[in-house]
Symmetry: C2
Subunit: 420 residues, 2 copies
């Protein structure tokens, strides 16, 4: 009999306990042992969770309990979780976590500490989709060329609704909050930070590269307007919040931002709250993984899969998938100003003579060539210029945007979306 | 240093050897050991494969070689491969195979023999897509409700081309043969047998159910006509060869056939030679896996992933994913005549009075109700009736088709495609 302690019995923790009970028949058949939850740690002892497990508000009741074999960490946050997880490992307990923030900051230290004991984290990226399993085990024969992920269901829901139903950004954000998809302060989701944490975890497995959230380019969807959606539809694109890891010789780009992506790409077909991750390996080509990226049961499905794995196999795989320094020791993070991409710009201008000539000159000065342009009337006799470029360098585009913003006939700062 | 012997050095075997060399940097980092191919068994010693490994035409040179740790079986076929693989396991060598036919017949005996030694087979289903990894490890917390797979690239290519470019079945089969997607005798692919072998493997992992190809419903795409494609497009369906496993209480349906599937389902969006597998778990909901289902490098990517896994983890997971008798001991195969589905029928009739009345009577007699009907003029003053039904029982539909075929105003046997 394997005994589990759950630290943080919220939505996911309750689902973990319920799945271990509801699906005990297949779980014990697969694990080869019976698995039960012995106790759970909560902040508020008075709330009834409908579970028949021992409840405490002291983590040490679990960490120091010799009967507990596996600790499931679902408390969230970085510093306190790190202390708790370290102590669990030091006490010889295997750990399963869904905590992406913890891993975004401490995954290499944890890999060091967990050399001889299982530490698993499938649920930390893309919820119920077994993407860690696929990337770490299933694609291990490949050099990973790129990872492109839709890993925030809130953003994907909002972008899908804006596209399909013509809703404005503000209206759909309100609806997402009403439906419980977005928090009262939605910054963590719509600002791209949640997706960035997940990207860093995948990038470690793929490239062995060490980076923290503050090292990489993170933008959100806050500036995507109905005009941009209309442009996208007209030119055969979808707009998605993408998390991208891309290898270019000895450098790896890591970035999160809204992106225009051709509608016929598989990743562009992932709509609503669903998540999807496209991985290109040098041998296997493109593979794609799709499913629910959030929700108690879907996330708990991944947590319990890790528990089963630990019970039947013990410590079987290095935490991040490599035993020796990987190509990571040769790979470095590409500075974001060196990123090359196609770009889409939305520029609001006063509708007067000579505007296009002056703008074109600035594009030329910055070595940026225009691929398509669309002019649409806007409010107060102004017009929106919707422009897509050929491949350009990020630094030049940023410079161009600054220069355009300073022009007297331009209203506000031009909006920019990268094109994948 | 881990030494590999490859039995069957064709396209995939050559790719395995090349990947182990080309990607030795990441492979040895992930496996924690260097891995080299020592020798390969071929039928024709005179053909140059451009590899610097020892080549022999005697399997025992590998099976009895104490230096060889892992045998890669790529010879194909059932009986001879079974003998070879058994001997490898008995000699204490781990085995990796891509041989779906071997597993379709002998997977349970192999699981028995390979209790203490690794036997892996990721490449046997859907080529480079790590679907075994996902189903066996990633989704292990779930009761699997259904598996719906596009697992034959040849058929999917043909269906996609017929749909997008209006090509006839015969023309596209010829083109597929010319492109090397289909064999001179295409029966194994277009008849559904290849997909059926793969389905049986997945069904064992999901349900622990034992069945052989001859036990299950296997139909191909040979009878899909341009008329059917037109009907599908008109009513918002795609036509695909699907391999389906579906749990219904204590029974499991296993079937392979052409199917009409709503265009907005993710699985319907998988086009061309690509493969995809949709798995619905009771907790995680739908997840989907997409990628190249064939080709030397994609298939070898899965073979090498298994090799890496064995090197870094040894025997870590029971071959089919369960340690104890699973719910499989309660689950039985549902007889195909009990299958319930919606159906599409194409009936060629002489264009004369009273036809519809007589046909409708037969539908009613067999308790089958019609959902949509379309009449299209055909050759020689005949007409095609294209009919879709509400949910009906397979046995009744088969009976209906027999009765319709006997009507004097009906030409030939009605064609039937199930609707998913």
């Amino acid at each position: 009999m394997i005994k589990i302690g759950i630290i943080g019995v919220g939505t996911v923790g309750t689902s973990v306990a319920n799945i271990l009970k509801d699906n005990a028949d297949v779980i014990s058949a697969r694990a080869g042992r019976d698995i039960v939850v012995k106790s759970g740690v909560v902040k508020n002892l008075n709330k009834d969770r409908g579970l028949d497990i021992k409840i405490t508000d002291n983590v040490d009741d679990i960490l120091d309990d010799d009967e507990i074999d596996i600790v499931v960490e679902l408390m969230g946050g970085v510093d306190e979780a790190f202390v708790v997880v370290k102590k669990a490992l030091q006490n010889g307990k295997a750990v399963v976590t869904a905590n992406k923030a913890l891993l975004a900051y401490h995954r290499y230290e944890l890999q060091e500490i967990a050399q001889d004991i299982a530490f698993e984290f499938e649920a930390s990226v893309a919820g119920g989709i077994p993407i860690i399993c696929a990337l770490r085990d299933g694609l291990s024969a490949n050099h990973i060329e790129s990872i492109v992920g839709i890993m925030n269901g809130t953003c994907n829901y909002m972008m899908t609704e804006m596209t399909n139903n013509g809703v404005s950004y503000d209206a759909i954000l309100q609806e997402a909050q009403y439906l419980g998809y977005a928090e009262a302060d939605p910054t963590f989701d719509v600002g791209g930070y949640d997706a960035a944490h997940k990207l860093l975890i995948l990038a470690s497995i793929a490239y062995g590269i060490d980076a923290k959230p503050e090292d990489i380019l993170i933008e959100g969807i806050e500036n995507v307007s109905s005009e941009d959606i209309a442009f996208a539809k007209e030119f055969g694109y979808a707009i998605k919040l993408l998390a991208i890891a891309k290898k270019d010789k000895n450098e790896v780009e890591l970035r999160v931002h809204a992106a225009l992506i051709k509608q016929d790409e598989m990743i562009a077909k992932i709509d609503g709250v669903m998540n999807g991750v496209s991985v290109v390996g040098d041998k296997v080509g493109e593979t794609l993984y799709y499913g629910a990226g959030a929700g108690g049961d879907a996330t708990a499905s991944a947590v319990v899969a890790n528990i089963i794995d630990i019970v039947r196999s013990g410590k079987s795989t290095p935490m991040l998938g490599f035993n020796r320094p990987m190509e990571g020791d040769k790979l470095t993070l590409k500075p974001s100003e060196k990123i090359e991409s196609k770009y889409y710009l939305r520029i609001n201008v006063n509708d007067e003579a000579g505007v296009l000539a002056k703008l074109s000159k600035l594009f030329e000065n910055n070595s940026i060539s225009i691929e398509t342009m669309l002019q649409r009337p806007s409010e107060n006799s102004s017009a929106n210029l919707l422009i897509s470029t050929h491949i350009a360098v990020e630094k030049n585009v940023k410079n161009l945007i600054n220069e355009i913003e300073r022009l007297v006939f331009v209203n506000g700062r031009p909006a920019m979306i990268r094109i994948i």
